[in-house]
């Protein structure tokens, strides 16, 4: 007290105190273990219980992997090798690997074609996913759908060229008229593309060579994981732009556009995907003229795309609603027109907010492609449940096959999820 009276407030430190190491009880492994594993009686009990369960899980699964049989003709062969011991019969994977990937009717000597298409897929989507890559790569991305189609389905190259030509003509007509009116440009472009395809059909039939360079492989021969990849990649890339259009249409000031979009979204969302697939498979056939050959994969692609576009539209609508109206007003007051302010201001922000939701839909859609096995298409799950499990050699090898399917899907979905998290971090510019 006496000190305080002589010098009540004024005080100044002249030398800063050095930083000291924490006491041993607050650092190191021992501290971590005490803090996280044995901090109380309950935690100690839980930790011990966890160790015991981990021990049992490992001791029962590790031999199954370690003793696994990788070379055998059939499940009986596996059993003979194992002689009653625990062990997986992984031989089914080595024996039927190509069937799991490509289906059981795709010609073996043509496997290189979808494999090459798969490898080129990475080149094509890289510039879309990573902005740092040279923009010129996008030309390859534009070309890729035609290239992949030609590689996987083959046939006359003129058919592929005519398809590409239709898109080019459509785009030229669109850009010619879009300045005067967007609707005129869009309708003109679509009509021009269809006319080109229709005319192209005659030309292609006339000049098609008897034996095309790449043998034509019909859709019904597609199968295995390749089918899941085709459906997943095509439907995700189509449903994103369609979903954006639907989300914007739902906000349109024009009542007709808004009503069309609302009805489409609500109807498609209200119906199970499996029903849409049955419609694609069976019922659509009744409405089409008897001899039309409307490709089954194309029908399924249309249905899955519609389904996921409706979901993506709702996710993006949430992103649009999250933007303050000030962003729209700032764009308007600077004189940007609707298309510009959407493209430059609103959508970049709304899509960024929507990334987790869009990825959620995309991952779900990719896994839902296995539903086509129900309408007797032999995708990965269809192959396992059908030709492989029904064969006398492999009847009963459930764990190994479905685990392989799970691993394949997991790798793809985990990759998508990791990319989206990276993208979110990269786009975080708002510094909240």
């Amino acid at each position: 007290m006496a000190d305080n009276n002589t010098n009540p407030i004024a005080y100044m430190r002249e030398t800063p105190l050095p930083q000291l190491d924490p006491p041993a009880s607050e650092a190191g492994l021992g501290h971590w273990v005490r803090q996280n594993l044995f901090s109380s009686v309950l935690n100690t009990v839980l930790t011990l219980a966890a160790f015991v369960s981990l021990y049992f899980i490992f001791t029962s699964t590790v031999p199954w992997f370690v003793n696994g049989v990788w070379q055998s003709e059939s499940i009986r062969g596996c059993r003979e090798v194992l002689e009653g011991a625990t062990g997986g019969c992984f031989a089914v994977l080595t024996e039927r690997w190509n069937q799991l990937l490509f289906g059981f009717t795709y010609s073996d000597d043509q496997y290189w074609r979808p494999t090459l298409a798969f490898a080129l897929l990475f080149v094509a989507i890289a510039p879309v996913l990573f902005v740092a890559l040279p923009r010129k790569m996008l030309y390859f991305t534009l070309l890729y759908p035609l290239l992949a189609f030609y590689l996987i389905w083959g046939g006359s190259i003129y058919a592929t060229i005519s398809t590409g030509l239709g898109f080019v003509v459509g785009y030229l007509v669109y850009s010619r008229f879009v300045a005067s009116s967007f609707a005129l440009g869009l309708i003109g472009g679509v009509v021009a593309a269809f006319v080109t395809w229709w005319l192209g059909g005659f030309v292609v039939d006339a000049i098609a060579p008897a034996t095309p360079f790449l043998e034509e492989i019909p859709s019904r021969k597609m199968g295995g994981f390749m089918l899941n990849m085709i459906l997943g990649v095509v439907c995700v890339s189509l449903s994103l732009p369609l979903g954006i259009a639907l989300a914007l249409g739902r906000q349109s000031r024009l009542p007709i556009i808004r009503i069309i979009c609302v009805v489409f979204i609500e109807f498609v969302r209200g119906v199970p995907l499996i029903t849409l697939l049955f419609v694609a498979n069976v019922i659509l056939g009744y409405f089409l003229p008897p001899d039309t050959n409307f490709d089954l994969i194309l029908r399924v692609i249309i249905m899955i795309t519609m389904f996921s576009a409706a979901y993506i539209a709702e996710v993006i609508r949430g992103g649009l609603a999250a933007l303050p109206t000030g962003q729209y007003e700032a764009g308007d007051s600077l004189g940007l027109d609707y298309a510009q302010s959407m493209r430059l201001i609103i959508l970049p922000q709304a899509l960024k907010i929507s990334i987790p939701g869009i990825v959620n839909v995309a991952v779900g859609l990719f896994k839902d492609t296995t539903l086509v096995s129900v309408i007797s298409m032999f995708d990965l799950v269809g192959m396992i449940r059908g030709p492989i499990l029904a064969s006398t050699e492999w009847n009963g090898v459930y764990w190994e096959l479905f685990m392989a399917a799970a691993v394949l899907f997991f790798v793809v979905c985990y990759g998508i999820s990791q990319y989206s998290q990276w993208l979110e971090r990269k786009l975080a510019t708002d510094h909240r």
């Binding site: 000030g326 962003q327 007003e329 700032a330 600077l334 004189g335 940007l336």
Partner: protein, 255 residues
């Protein structure tokens, strides 16, 4: 400065509003507004909240639609014709209370976006103009940052620069300092004063009466959607006529 500034006002009419009325649903927000603004004039609009002052200036660049009467900006009649609206918006800059910068773009990109896409200015030229105006608002060193990294006062100065990059003939300010911390208000007002000294036609909704005294040619007082009183700043503050104005001034200047 006031004397020199008054010299710059020309006879040319920048904005002419005749018999304008606006409703929000059944609520009559703006009632029979008549207002003529000459080129180079600086007008401060004040009034209690809900008096329709923001709505009035938002009608001028068609952020709000008016239902009756006419608005003419630089000889262009504001109608539902989108071409006229776009034309007016290119000539009229606007600064908002909450800045409304684009958070996903850098400061430089915020400034060059409209010149590049609306005015079709080449990118290098647009960037030059942008840096010119950033220097004018005294934050050229922030060009590569994102809006979220700047303080409120800096963001508002960027927003002013963003409008100026379009080379507008008229600037609208909608409570530009209301969302700012007290120590940042001055830097924004200084920027606006500098702009006024250059002879920009300005309509400013604000409660900064010091700014009104120093810069305005005319102060307009609004209440319940009507223009109640307008006068030169000295007269307006020293000798208000209507009882409503007297009450308002006593409330905001009283402490």
């Amino acid at each position: 400065m006031t004397e020199a500034a008054k010299m710059q006002v020309s006879d040319e009419i920048a904005i002419s509003i005749q018999g304008m009325n606006k409703w929000f649903g059944s609520f009559h927000v703006l009632r029979d507004i008549n207002l003529t603004v000459n080129s180079g004039e600086r007008i401060v609009v004040c009034g209690p909240s809900g008096s329709g002052k923001s709505t009035l200036i938002r009608c001028i660049n068609a952020l709000e639609e008016h239902q009756k009467g006419s608005i003419e900006v630089d000889g262009t009649v504001l109608s539902s014709d989108l071409k006229n609206i776009d034309k007016i918006r290119r000539e009229v800059g606007m600064v908002f209370q909450h800045f409304n910068l684009f958070p996903h773009l850098t400061i430089l990109e915020n400034l060059t976006l409209a010149p590049i896409w609306v005015r079709k200015t080449p990118k290098s030229e647009a960037e030059e103009t942008a840096m010119h105006f950033l220097e004018k608002v005294k934050i050229p060193e922030q060009a590569d940052k994102y809006p979220g990294q700047l303080s409120g006062g800096q963001q508002q100065r960027v927003a002013i620069a963003r409008s100026l990059c379009m080379r507008p003939r008229i600037m609208l300010f909608d409570e530009p300092t209301s969302a700012l911390d007290p120590e940042m208000i001055k830097e924004v007002l200084d920027t606006m004063i500098a702009l006024a000294e250059e002879g920009m036609t300005m309509l400013v909704v604000t409660h900064e009466m010091g700014f009104a005294r120093q810069v305005a040619n005319r102060v307009i007082f609004m209440d319940e959607g009507q223009i109640v009183e307008q006068n030169e700043p000295e007269e307006f503050f020293n000798n208000p006529q209507s009882p409503r104005t007297k009450l308002f001034l006593s409330q905001i200047l009283g402490h």
